[in-house]
Structures are given as structure tokens and as C-alpha cells.
């Protein structure tokens, strides 16, 4: 039994909140649904700690989803860098749930609290999946799971202040544009390389030196993720979405949502495209030199 759990830890951290969100939505009692959510986030946190132990022993875990071998099937890749965001997200979601029991009834109607907890778990599952996955298209799916769930969570503030609805709408539109940009980028890269696995992608990109579709795909992907991560010129949705969301939701989203996207951005920039010795850094260096004189 413990062997099964240990071997399947990379998928269990994602699946536990995802499956429990389907159960929580059926419970009408507010206290029970909160208790179940708390229990689920605690279990997820324990799983992520066990995963840390495994990563510490093996230095990196590659999990083949459904036993399909990685370059073809979906791979869940956890190394010493990606375990840190997983632990942070699961710990913060546990703490945020713990303190949500008092704040939630003050801002949200009694009848919709259990549905809010269901969306809450869905957002957590999406964010952990975002960090765990090693497949470019699976990453898009998790990006959309987490962002659709957080849009609905932000819109829950509309029961108190109607401006939350407009904020959620802007978040939805900009988030959907960002995700679609990311898909265009993945599509262009798939057209050149014929693979969706991130590790495989970086190997095949290194062989291609100058290709216009590669540059276009890189631009689309990075811009798409930057919208999600609310990096400076593309941050316009963020202040209103976090200001008008219910307080408990703001706590959860502000601490986890954009940070997971930032991790993805760093991973795409440095491990897929390896910009550390590339034209872009070269140009940036020249610009910095010009700026200094």
C-alpha cells in the first residue's frame, strides 16, 4: 500500500484536490465542506513533503502518466527546483483554508460556500499541476483549469461589491488571450520539432539554429505566460481582480497564482529555450551598456 502511494506521488499531489473538489461540491453543510477542504489540503501538503523526501533521495523523478513512455506520453517531471513551488503552494493553500472558515461566511452567501470550496480545490489542483507537468500541452490545460477556477472565485466577490464582476470579466478575457497565445506558440514549436515534451523540446530546439517560426513561437509562448504571471506591461487585470475578490480568495491567489506562472516563465526561458547564451541576452546586454553611457 505505501509502495503504491510512494510510486504514484507525482500524480497524487494533483489528483487529491482535483477529485475531492467533485465531492466537496455535493456537500451542502458549510462546516463539513470546510473540514473536508482542510483535510484535503493537509493530505496534499503531506504528499508534497513525502515527494520532497523522494526527490532528495533520487535527485529527480520522472513519472510516466498511464505508463506511456515519456517522449510520446505525458511526463510528470519533479526535480529539486520544482519541488519547492509544490511545497509552497500546498502549504499556503492549507494555511489559507484554515483561516478561511471565519472570513468566508462574512462575505459570501451561505448557500454558495460549499461551491466556493470546490472551486478553491480546483484552483489548487490546477496550480500544483502547472508546476508538476513536463508536457507543453498538459501545461496549457492546467493553466486553464487554474485560471477559470480563479475567475469564478474572484467573481464570488460580486455578492458584496458589483465591481468584482467587471474585474473577473477582465481577468477572464486577458487570461484567455494569454492562454491562447501560449497555445499558438506551442503549436508553432510542435510544427518545427514534432514533440510536446518540454525536455525533448529543448534538445530539439538546440539543434535548430535560425528559424523564423522558432522565434515567433518563442515570442507567443513567453508573452502568453507573461500575461498570466502579470509581468509589468501586461499586469492590467491584476490589481482590480485581487482588490474586489473575497478576502480569503485574495490570500490564496496572491500567494500562489502568479508565482506558479512565474516559475513556468523561468522554466520556459532557461530550461526549454536556454536564453542564457543567446541572441536575446546579447541584445539586452547591448541595451544596458547603451543605457549606462
Amino acid at each position: 500500500m505505501t509502495d503504491i502511494i510512494i510510486n504514484n506521488l507525482p500524480i497524487l499531489v494533483v489528483l487529491t484536490p482535483l477529485m475531492m473538489s467533485l465531492i466537496v461540491v455535493l456537500i451542502s453543510n458549510n462546516f463539513l465542506s470546510w473540514l473536508l477542504t482542510l483535510f484535503t489540503t493537509l493530505i496534499t501538503f503531506i504528499f508534497s513533503l513525502l515527494l520532497y523526501q523522494e526527490v532528495y533521495l533520487h535527485s529527480s523523478i520522472s513519472y510516466a502518466l498511464g505508463s506511456w513512455v515519456p517522449p510520446i506520453g505525458i511526463e510528470y517531471l519533479i526535480d529539486k527546483v520544482s519541488i519547492i513551488p509544490i511545497i509552497i503552494i500546498s502549504l499556503i493553500s492549507f494555511l489559507a483554508t484554515f483561516f478561511a472558515s471565519k472570513i468566508m461566511p462574512a462575505e459570501i452567501n451561505n448557500s454558495s460556500i460549499s461551491k466556493v470550496y470546490s472551486l478553491w480545490l480546483l484552483a489548487i489542483a490546477g496550480l500544483i499541476g502547472l508546476v508538476t507537468t513536463g508536457d507543453a500541452f498538459n501545461l496549457f490545460v492546467f493553466l486553464e483549469i487554474s485560471s477559470l477556477a480563479s475567475v469564478a472565485l474572484v467573481a464570488m466577490g460580486g455578492q458584496k461589491d458589483k465591481q468584482a464582476l467587471v474585474a473577473a470579466y477582465n481577468y477572464l478575457i486577458l487570461g484567455a488571450i494569454g492562454a491562447t497565445f501560449y497555445v499558438i506558440g506551442v503549436g508553432l514549436l510542435y510544427g518545427i520539432t514534432g514533440t510536446l515534451n518540454l525536455a525533448d523540446l529543448s534538445d530539439r530546439i538546440a539543434e535548430i539554429s535560425d528559424n523564423k517560426a522558432l522565434i515567433a513561437g518563442f515570442g507567443f509562448m513567453v508573452i502568453g505566460i507573461m500575461v498570466k504571471a502579470a509581468v509589468f506591461p501586461l499586469h492590467i487585470w491584476l490589481p482590480r481582480a485581487y482588490a474586489y475578490a473575497p478576502s480569503a480568495v485574495s490570500v490564496l491567489l496572491a500567494a500562489t497564482a502568479t508565482k506558479a506562472s512565474l516559475y513556468i516563465l523561468a522554466r520556459i526561458l532557461f530550461s526549454v529555450f536556454d536564453i542564457s547564451d543567446n541572441l536575446i541576452t546579447y541584445t539586452l546586454n547591448i541595451l544596458f551598456c547603451l543605457y549606462q553611457y
Binding site: 490545460v141 486553464e144 465591481q163 467587471v166 470579466y169 478575457i173 488571450i177 497555445v183 503549436g187
Partner: protein
Amino acid sequence: MISSTLGVWNYWIVFFLMMIGLFLVIGRKNLLKKIVGLTIFQTSVFLLYITFGKIQGGTPPILNNINETVYSNPLPHVLILTAIVVGVATTALGLSLVLRINSEYGSIEEEDISAQDLVDYHELIETSKKISVRFKK
């Protein structure tokens, strides 16, 4: 030159639709029309994927006894099936938000909504001023 530019006409359609969709999202002030634009934008991506999955003369990827059969790539189709589902979910959530905005504000024009927000904001300032004056007395 002309044949190499016009020969890839399906890509022209893709980017034409993409630009129409983006323009609708950015240019229109009506919240419903923005969602229409978003849907067109997402549809263009579906076409992009289908386009490079298709090979000229390619058949569906089913095994047969003829050796020289050319197969189309089935993976982009499967990916787009997922993307369509995601797109439908986005549209549904957007439309329900528009409904809620309409019932709260009585309008789905961006200018009306921001004007009402401005009025509410000034009323808030006025009431808070009155309250602070009352406290000073």
C-alpha cells in the same frame, strides 16, 4: 514568389481570423462582442493546429495492408479536441459573467459601466466626508 506566398493560403485564413478576433476583443466596447471576438480568436488557433496536422493526400491513420499509404498526423486533432472543450468552458463562464453584469449594472457597454463605477466612487467619497464631519462635531 506569388505562388510561395499564396500557396499557403490556409495560413492566411488562420492569421486573418486571428487578427479579426484580437481586434474585436481590443476594439469593441460591448462585453458580448468581446466574447464573440475571443471565440473567433480561439477558432483561428484550432485551424492552425489542423492545418499542420494535414498532409496532402493523407488518409486517416488506420493500419491497412498497402505499404505506401500516407497518414495525416492525428495528434493535433486530439489536442484541438481538448482546446475546444477549454474554449467552450471559457465562453460559458464569460457569458454567465456578462449576464450577472447586466443584472447588476443594467448595461453591458463598457462606458456605462465605468460611468456608474465613477458615480458610485464619488458618492462613497461624499458619504465618508459627511461621516467624518459628523464625527468632528
